[in-house]
Amino acid sequence: MSIGASPPRIEAADKATGRARYVDDIKLPGMLHTALLTSPHAHARICGYRLDAARALVGVKAILIALT
């Protein structure tokens, strides 16, 4: 190998054959998924949260919020 050579990427074969694992390809036992709910307003002040509807959804394990 020298300067000016064009070596193949070491992971190219994995990517070309579909063997490469991307984050969305990983499945772990008991794996949870997150869903982001962002503010519809730019630079708004958060005055409070109403979380009952989210809590009532089947399968919701936790709701993480920013401190107000």
Binding site: K15, T17, G18, D24
Partner: protein, 157 residues
């Protein structure tokens, strides 16, 4: 839509059983039920081509195909284009041409090129570009991908 359908799908020459919602797409069954994650979920709207597979030898967006609708037709994914040991000519050309960057679009391009060369062994640049027009590469590595296809066409003189 909690009802589940028992499906039989033929993928890469093997019959698989899957339990899926009647609304499940072929892409969801391939990735989530059969763990064939080589087929990528890009836009999930039939725009980007990352989920491209062959159904009975024809190009199809697996995100737009209902799994229940595939029936007994033969599905080929990126995992099935080579013999499992070595790469296909298309895969080899992409690797050797430096046509793979992040690689997320690559399985879709592999399928599009596999289809192209099955129907036209010596396509010219215009034909190649048209054949790849349904696949997006957000690294924008199109030049190398077209070069890879031209390399295959030239090798078949």
């Amino acid at each position: 839509m909690n009802d589940r359908l028992a499906l039989l799908v033929k993928v890469n020459g093997e019959l698989h059983e899957a339990l899926a919602s009647p609304a499940a797409t072929l892409l969801e069954v391939l990735r989530d039920q059969l763990s064939l994650t080589g087929t990528k979920r890009g836009c999930n709207h039939g725009v980007c081509g990352a989920c491209t597979v062959l159904i009975d030898g024809k190009l199809a967006r697996s995100c737009l195909a209902l799994a229940a609708d595939v029936g007994e037709r033969e599905v080929t994914t990126v995992e099935g284009v080579a013999d499992g040991v070595s790469c296909s000519a298309v895969q080899r050309a992409l690797i050797e041409s430096g046509a793979i960057q992040c690689g997320f679009c690559t399985p879709g391009f592999v399928m599009a090129l596999t289809y192209l060369f099955a129907s036209d062994p010596r396509p010219n640049r215009e034909t190649i570009r048209a054949a790849l027009s349904g696949n997006l590469c957000r690294c924008s590595g199109y030049v190398k991908i077209v070069e890879a296809a031209e390399r295959i066409a030239e090798a078949r003189v």
